[in-house]
Symmetry: C2
Amino acid sequence: MTSVTRTAPGQQTKNDLLARRYATLGPHSPLFYRQPLELVSGSGVLVTDAQGKVYLDGYNNVPHVGHANRAVAEAVYQQMLTLNLHTRYLNSRVVDYAEALLGKFDGPLERLFLTNSGSEANELALRIARQHTGNTGVLVSNFSYHGNTTALAELTTGLTVREPLGAHVRALQIPDVSGIAEADVPALLKQSLIDVDAAITSLQAEGHGVSALLIDPLFSTEGLPQLPVGYLEQVAARVRAAGGLIISDEVQSGFGRTGSHMWGYQMYGLEPDLVTMGKPMGNGHPIGAVVTTADLLDEFGRHNMFFNTFAGNPVSSAAGLAVLQYMDEESLVSKAGELGVYIRERLERIAKGSPNVGSVRGRGLFFGLDIIESDGQRNPAPSLTKVLIEDMRERGVLISRVGAHDNVLKMRPPLVFAKEHADMLLEQLELSLGNLP
Amino acid sequence: MTSVTRTAPGQQTKNDLLARRYATLGPHSPLFYRQPLELVSGSGVLVTDAQGKVYLDGYNNVPHVGHANRAVAEAVYQQMLTLNLHTRYLNSRVVDYAEALLGKFDGPLERLFLTNSGSEANELALRIARQHTGNTGVLVSNFSYHGNTTALAELTTGLTVREPLGAHVRALQIPDVSGIAEADVPALLKQSLIDVDAAITSLQAEGHGVSALLIDPLFSTEGLPQLPVGYLEQVAARVRAAGGLIISDEVQSGFGRTGSHMWGYQMYGLEPDLVTMGKPMGNGHPIGAVVTTADLLDEFGRHNMFFNTFAGNPVSSAAGLAVLQYMDEESLVSKAGELGVYIRERLERIAKGSPNVGSVRGRGLFFGLDIIESDGQRNPAPSLTKVLIEDMRERGVLISRVGAHDNVLKMRPPLVFAKEHADMLLEQLELSLGNLP
């Protein structure tokens, strides 16, 4: 056994740190940027690298109420100095948090399971759906990611996994009306629903049946497509008619990200049976949850001894509660809505002025710009998108990209983003677009 | 939306808290004791309930370096005030922790994946094993639990799940030499290995092949059986001969719990390919890991874009590092070894003095007493075991029970347990046993 060492930032060169990382985590653990960026501290929407350079964070949604949020840190610290145990003993913290979180839901969504991540939440939601329906078939979208377990890898279409798509999985092409003539939308919608019917029929024909539709209401990984009005509602109706449940994966779209609603599914006339969440929930503390109906929770609870050691412990609950309190006190959702409208308008103007922007996507504080070749063919331009992201880094702004063609700029900052931050991001983005070859 | 509320301990009666819990988490989330125990604070090996009564914690292994450990709380707090982000940016904390943790391993176990729980770790280990071997078959023990996901539910034998045992799973009866005449051990070993051969043959005959043996080296859920010498080594050799990998689930047996070794598998001549861990790793902070070889990590990393949002973040890493540092500074493993010998000797004496103790199990700071009827038939006595646990609660000592017959007292305190704590636990246990009807 070796003794424990601790490295202060800057104590080694970045290359040493990278070599040490490769020698422990291996070379495949993903890193952003051509030259990886070493971040050492953060505050609000700003982060600082090992050389002291400050960046505006236009990308990270996990630090939802801001980097190094003091209210969350204090809540965690005080609870750590008090007690941190599993839920087999009574403790009020988990109940306080459960009530606060369920207070953000309407209707029959009045029970929850706590987990440690979005992956654990989606795993559990699928178990519940399979057990309830007696079916195994799952409908997802055709460029999506819902987590890293075996069952989730079998329905992953948005990144590389070695497991083949499960025989019980159908991946739907999500219709996107961006850049499509108004008159052509009904035909697109009609064809998309024919595809859904075909997927359901084939699941039934092969004996899988339909257990669930699992979707991110923003279709973030897909690149934020703009859906035909009514599409999702009609998909949901078909899934229900086939006996399946609706799972809304709010890992990216939840907690007010859209600016208009607390949960992404509320953008539509969608009434999910199961709502899963993760990333922003604890401002970085590992928390996830499945919110569902009393009936589904009771059915699962009667047939399974379900327990999760860390989930719902008083410290995790304190972190989650502090995030909700901060969001309420600072009216972050309505602010995100207002700022989102402003950003969207400016992005539309930027798009008009640049031959490399195909369309503006997203809403609230989750934006995309579809980057295309300027040769008039409107082809996706992943290499230009990469140039933009690297250039924005040089300009002190962190963003990333997403989508099946890796050509949609992804801007999804902490929810404490203010107008001055938006102005800085947009100004640098406009300059960066203007400098493209 | 309702506003966020916060409840101080004692502000409500326990019945109100229980009713509020049922109305949010539902009635199935497991609780210890006939009358649930509301704990409000803890320190070291002591916890306090809502009425101010103090208990000695003889059960909880998650607060490994003690309840409300200040070093861990400070490490988490300082890092939360500094930065908490995923591993797609470089940060030294995760590398510092990875080096410290890998420093506790020898030989080819020199790489790791970080996760948020033991469930996530076992999920990942099975994915790696299945991909590497091209097989799906898994060998587990016949009263075991390795986590709460779909893939893990399909191999759960130690608690109720609705999923049937997977067609690709074989559950081995683990031989226990406790209470068996020395002369009968070779026959038991021989028969047990014949059963292993039959399980492997049947997996191969049905086309599943063998991907892995997944075991907890202490067989905690099974009730801490005492294995025939050589059994596990010979099982491992058979699994390897069939092309399978060895996964050691150290969620319960790791981090020095045995007193003799840092990892449970080191009690045997076992060389696992994958080591999974969770519970005590972050003293309650949600952390898990898979430690493996460079070859297995590289193979998996080449074929899968594997990422885990929370895992390895600087705060989780700070928590894990603080636990390892505290363990080293306080020599907790060797202390657990010494104290374990003392406890074992006293338990043997207690066992001799009580007609209700069938055998003493366990080692280090993980003990079991097999509770039996005193009528000479030596039948398991689950109802007496329950009486003992409730009585110990009245006496101010928290323990629990485990095993296929629910009749093995489970004593597995925080690793900072000292001789005075052991004396108190043993004294109360002896009194409690003496009071049995």
